[in-house]
Amino acid sequence: MARWTRDEMAQRVARDIPDGAVVNLGIGLPTLVANHLPADKEVVLHSENGVIGMGPAPAAGAEDYDLINAGKQPVTLLPGGCFFHHADSFAMMRGGHLDVCVLGAFQVSSTGDLANWHTGAPDAIPAVGGAMDLAIGAKKTFVMMEHTTKEGQSKIVAACTYPLTGIGCVSRIYTELAVLEVTRDGLKLIDKVAGLAFVELQKLTGVPLIH
């Protein structure tokens, strides 16, 4: 079946990030988006541990562990970048200053509810980090995830069965098959991988899509 690669997904997300946006990229798949931001756009990266204007990873041997991202990986600072403490960093989200965040997910509902922090398994030790703050804080929350679980179940659902991260907070869903917009009437198809018929996509999706 036709599908986008992880890099193509990242490229597709990057295309939708407007020039001048301040963006937070979550750990994992969303991090790839940084590699695909077009050179003709000035997109500024925020990391919740306290930096805006984050640059790429440093050259080998030039790592400085006082300059890291939220994934605790060494990064660099671009000219114009700056540092701030945690309360200011999260005020940037909660206060509605951050333009876009891109997060991974276990499930997204047709009304934009997000589940991405906890499987809810009885023996699981929960960890939340900044997921809840980001999800509800950014002006737009993009989710990047596989369309289905390894068992083939849709991760796009009528109502999340995993514990929620935030209610009605997701604006767009990017999977290896399609781009879906959360609208008042439900999930609207914005784009799909070439060669995939709508009926096929609908079969793999847990809720009706608006064509």
Binding site: S47, E48, N49, G50, V51, P58, A60, G61, A62, E63, D64, Y65, D66, L67, I68, K72, P74, L77, F83, F84, H85, H86, A87, S89, F90, A91, M93, R94, H118, D123, A124, I125, P126, A127, V128, G129, G130, A131, M132, D133, I136, G137, P163, L164, T165, G166, I167
Partner: protein, 233 residues
């Protein structure tokens, strides 16, 4: 004369009592005051409540404090990590209480304590497990959760430069929780790599004013990587 400098980390932590609430700065190794954590281990206080973003990594620092069963409760946002085995074991055996707090709520609850705020309504966490049992309110059409301040007896933080009045500057993302934790504790102990004369810190660049800091200890600059941040020789 005001002189907040202490000769050693041990003297700076001599009066931490059993049952104290202790904030520890840092995110990853950036801003983690490892010399103070080691001194807290040596100091021996038990039944501690620890406030930190994480719950210890590997076998050193906060993980070592946990392993010695000196911590009754931890308030943090991200306990579970690949190498958090000491916390995991204590949590599974019921030997440690966990208060899991979204990271931004954690920072703001600490800031609120330092700023004399009795509580605040935040949208973060509304409708989730982490807001269960908490008061909620609709304000201008949006739902919020009431969160309480987190006060501490001690805050252990890592800064870059300081003076005898306790004014502090930080280094890059090592700043993280330092400035808010400094505000929230009765006694804030900051390590710095350099103690400078009054007036040497650019007043426009002081991040934590000395009023929030009670004790300053100089510690050696240690290499944190193979490359960027090496010991000054």
């Amino acid at each position: 004369m005001i002189d907040k400098t202490f000769p050693t980390v041990h003297e700076a932590l001599a009066d931490v009592r059993d049952g104290a609430t202790v904030m520890i700065g840092g995110f990853g190794t950036a801003g983690l005051p490892s010399e103070l954590v080691d001194a807290l281990i040596a100091q021996g206080a038990r039944g501690l409540t620890i406030v930190n973003n994480n719950a210890g990594n590997g076998d050193t620092g906060l993980a070592a404090l946990l392993a010695k069963k000196r911590v009754r409760k931890i308030i943090c946002s991200f306990p579970r990590q690949a190498d958090s085995h000491h916390f995991d074991a204590l949590y599974r055996s019921g030997e440690i209480d966990l208060e899991l707090v979204p990271q931004g709520n954690l920072a703001e609850r600490i800031r609120a304590a330092g700023a004399g705020i009795g509580g605040f309504f935040t949208p973060t966490g509304y409708g989730t497990l982490l807001a269960e049992g908490k008061e909620t309110r609709e304000i201008d059409g949006r739902m919020y959760v009431l969160e309480a301040p987190i006060h501490a007896d001690f805050a252990l933080i890592k800064a870059e430069r300081g003076d005898r009045w306790g004014n502090l500057t930080y280094r890059m993302t090592a700043r993280n929780f330092g400035p808010v934790m400094a505000m929230a504790a009765k006694t804030t102990v900051a390590t710095v790599h350099e103690i400078v004369e009054l007036g040497s810190l650019d007043p426009e660049a002081v991040v934590t004013p000395g009023i929030f800091v009670q004790r300053v200890v100089r510690v050696d600059r240690v290499a944190t990587s193979a490359g960027g941040f090496k010991q000054v020789t």
